[in-house]
Symmetry: D2
């Protein structure tokens, strides 16, 4: 089958790889109908080294079940389904806590349990995918919702929601969201859903800020104004109740800690993987909580799917480009460069 | 001064009572500019016996500070302020827990700590009110907000919010709200604010249901349809995540327990004061939480005021009638009979 | 095989029933090594009608895995295991919330998902049991712990812990526990574990009260003293922070609501299945939370097993009688009549 | 009066300062009967620069009320009282959230609201202290409890409890506590109170470790063994559920993050005021929560006082030395050098 294949740092290609097949009794085989490119895919393209090569990338996908093993009970051949980016087993103590990201079964021996980062678990930017522990990792899609409307339940909508949860956003809060990329947009939407009184969206890209303003956010461009001063102005000098970092830079995590009030909550979901100086004293002196994490979408589905069904959330708002899977490499480029207003690229196999 | 005075069961009159004055160092004297009639006032008019007579009724009011005692630090003469219906001292262990309703100081000896239910704490349907522990019970009103916009922070907006909190309404929930009176409307609004995917508003009054539908709710009239069946239909047979009773009838509390799913949460804020048969087994078999309470508005102000300021909440939507205080008795009648579409009556001294 | 068999109201006998065998890929077959009689079994014996007959009773058992289906991954032949009384599938939305008691799979069509209440799910007072969804319902037992030490993880220790959780017992609380039967004892132990400053154990049985006193509880016998007055005395007139009903009488649930303070929390885990008058107004006037539920032991195992392993909990303290399974009917009688100091009867097949 | 006075970096002396007197209506004047030296006092002695000089040090003290202003209602002349180290007003939004540490009134203009760090708020290592907002900051001491038994409610017992709260310690947890100084001891005690199954106490001082072992902790000396390996061994390879840093070193905060499991919680209450490299990625990859704060003892008193009264907590266990206030400088030296087994030095004026 055809797939976007990782051949090494800065080397991805649309290529032919072997068709997947059922291996374990809990497996399902999913024919992909829509997939997408995630910001974390760019880290790979930019050279974040992966130990293996030759597998399909991608961890956001929707499709149709083509076959299931004998142990699968909740999805059947022909079901339209959405996959979790993070593979859980539903049985271990981590999965029972709602933390598939730390699944003891699927990460045993240090394995990656994210689709599209290893040969053992190839990704969804492909014509088909084997999904282990299918009952635990696939969500049947209600007929009324088309593929694109649920596609982002694979990862970034739950990630945005987790960000708002980790920052304990609640009614009346003033919330600062650093970043207006796809995850930032969803963090803003979820902060709103949880009752935020005001959301200050921060980004360097004026086009993205304009869209944030259209969504009802206050906006700030740190290239033009002092975000800290702006927050104090919005909050009568107190500081924000919560802040979310959705970019992936240590200094923005520090800034997020700086702009919240005494007793504030900060979460970051940007991928921050380099050590950097960080003043822990801010947490001490201001009684802060700082949280982060890799999302476990399964735990967010029961909350987010009904909101999509009732129309309160329309995740398709972020889709800027639709391309055939065969043009996937161009999709990566557009997304990487914010070219042509690119915010989110959806691919069709 | 003039006030709506309680003279006994079914006997209220606009009358002259002595002017209030400062007694304790923590007192403030508030000249009332807007006040309102609450559903719980109707209980009094309908004959709920009160031990004393001859005092002003009313526990919802906004006004201007006329004088303060030497111990008052956070409000000053001339400040426009909103009062809490429930009087706290801010110092006892209950107040520190956010439960002014159980304030150990103001309820000592079995005293009522609600404005307008006793001679010791006359109410706000009057030209002026003495407010004990002023720092703890008055909220300065931001200049941008007119009186009516904050008036319902005295009681029923916090009550609606508390109802949604006690029912732990969260993102994606299907919530049933019994009652579309003033508190029911605010419970619906607050359920929405906390992220409910769908709200089913239940009432017998078709006009009120029409307004609920206009606010985005699903609606059901139990005179015409089976509410339980409707909930099952809305939830794929599962039952609602949460239910709120905002009417004040034991059988509706039971119904609320019936319509929620296994693990659901139920709150009631209707005034249910008669013993009645109740099947506790529903809580056992369905793992339910049932909560109620008298509101402590102070604890909700930091959440609700910013939402009014940012425009996400506009509490004036419920105001149906505006009358001079002198016509207050007619206001009670209109409200009691739902006459002329009466939903909430605001009075101006 | 031999088992204690339900033949109808007030008719249980040790009898021969067909040996269980594997049916589904997720099944395990467990050879029982220890089982016990639970208070809820007595309801059956006393005449609570069950729709079917001819099956083994019992929902508390430990044993050794004799065989597993091909879909079972976390237990193997020869493993010593403990079973949950409540059968979950680990995959549905209820199980994912930690509420196996409301499992959508195992209760589909109104089925009972408690072992020992139907022909479809015979119980553990038997030589062997088929356990569906074995990965979700069996807990491997650490070698250092003998059978009796973990046996009560099947039901009543988690039930006692759930009672303390639902009553939100926390550091410094004064907690009243109605009932010193097996569940009451564990509710007291778990209240202590969660930091209660004082626990008032209430019972009519002086012998049980003496044991409670030995465990560090304050005690009260309602036949001799006014429990409400005692609580006020213990709490400086305030009322208890939390109360737990572990008997199963509606009037004790009401009493529990009466003895807690404003803002208190009440849980009941006694089986209260008859409708009775109940004054909901207490919840309103005192801002109470009232919760109940059928336990989902799986959710409590990660908390309770380490406490047994480290020795902070020794559940064998309640065992008063050990009998062969063949003498099970006598075990029921002893337990029912509190005869010979009977508190908990353990049976060995 | 006599007091231990700050004269500049590394220069403290027992000296004469002016007697305090009532200034505001909410003030109380407290004659000190017991006071103590806190680890944070050592920072001052070691040269942490303070902007002012000439004031009494100390923020832990118990005494007798000598006089109160007209606005004080809950304490009276002659009452034995305990003071909070952190001064709140009880009225602002921070105090209402239970965060006196961020009190908007007492920290206005950047003022310190800790006793003993400025001329405006001199400390308790003195014969008498003026306590502003007396109702909010003094706790009447039950007659049955002597001064020493409640003295540490001023700061370090609540700090230890806050540490356990921020680390969300709950039943069955394995908890690592870095540090066996006074705060570490109380963090261990409070972790136990909240139901921890095992506590691993870490310190370099073998004598302190021996005491931890006697208290029921597992112990580890990082000079002799690899703490991380030890934690994996204790937890079957999973990592601890929670970790608490009670020393004040950034690398120990990092170590705390390292030893917890996926989804673990970390708090630090050691005074970490130097910027240092910190790998935020640990929080991301392991879904951690990291929290810290300055304690607001008032919020912990209702939980801790009943535990001291019932005997479950005996805070005097840490007292190693008792000296007259006149020998206070020697007390600082003993404490600083861990000389003569010094763990906590109590002073009597």
């Amino acid at each position: 089958m055809r797939a976007i294949v990782y051949h090494g740092p800065r080397d991805i290609r649309v290529d032919t790889v072997p068709d997947p097949s059922l291996c374990d009794p809990d497996d399902a085989l999913v024919r992909v109908t829509r997939t997408a490119i995630c910001g974390s895919d760019l880290h790979v393209v930019h050279g974040m080294p992966l130990p293996e090569r030759g597998f399909a990338l991608g961890h956001e996908f929707v499709g149709v079940v083509e076959d299931v093993g004998p142990g699968v009970r909740r999805v059947r051949k022909g079901d339209r389904v959405l996959a979790s980016c993070t593979l859980g087993c539903a049985r271990c103590v981590a999965c029972r806590r709602g933390l598939a990201s730390g699944c003891e079964t699927t990460t045993a021996g240090g394995a990656s349990n994210l689709f599209g980062f290893s040969c053992a678990l190839p990704g969804g930017q492909a014509e088909a995918v084997r999904v282990p522990y299918a009952d635990a990792n696939l969500l049947p899609v209600p007929p009324a919702l088309d593929d694109e409307r649920v596609l982002f339940l694979s990862d970034i909508l739950p990630t945005g929601h987790m960000a708002a949860e980790l920052a304990e956003v609640g009614p009346g809060d003033v919330v600062v969201v650093f970043g207006c990329g796809p995850v930032g947009v969803f963090a803003q939407r979820c902060a709103e859903l949880r009752g935020a009184a005001r959301i200050l969206a921060v980004d360097l890209d004026e086009e993205r800020l304009a869209r944030a303003r259209a969504r009802g956010c206050d906006v700030a461009n740190p290239a033009r104004e002092d975000v800290g001063a702006r927050v104090l102005e919005l909050t009568g000098g107190r500081g924000a109740d919560a802040a979310i970092e959705a970019v992936g830079k240590p200094d923005l995590v520090a800034k997020a800690c700086e702009v919240v009030r005494h007793g504030g909550r900060v979460s970051f979901v940007g991928v921050v993987l380099e050590p950097a100086p960080f003043f822990l004293g801010t947490l001490l002196l201001k009684n802060l909580a700082l949280r982060s994490g890799i999302v476990s979408p399964q735990a967010h589905w029961p909350k987010l799917l009904p909101l999509i069904e009732s129309g309160r959330l329309d995740p398709t708002e972020i889709v800027s480009h639709r391309l055939p899977l065969a043009d996937g490499v161009r999709g990566y480029e557009l997304f990487d460069q914010h070219a042509d207003g690119a915010l989110k690229v959806v691919l069709t196999p």
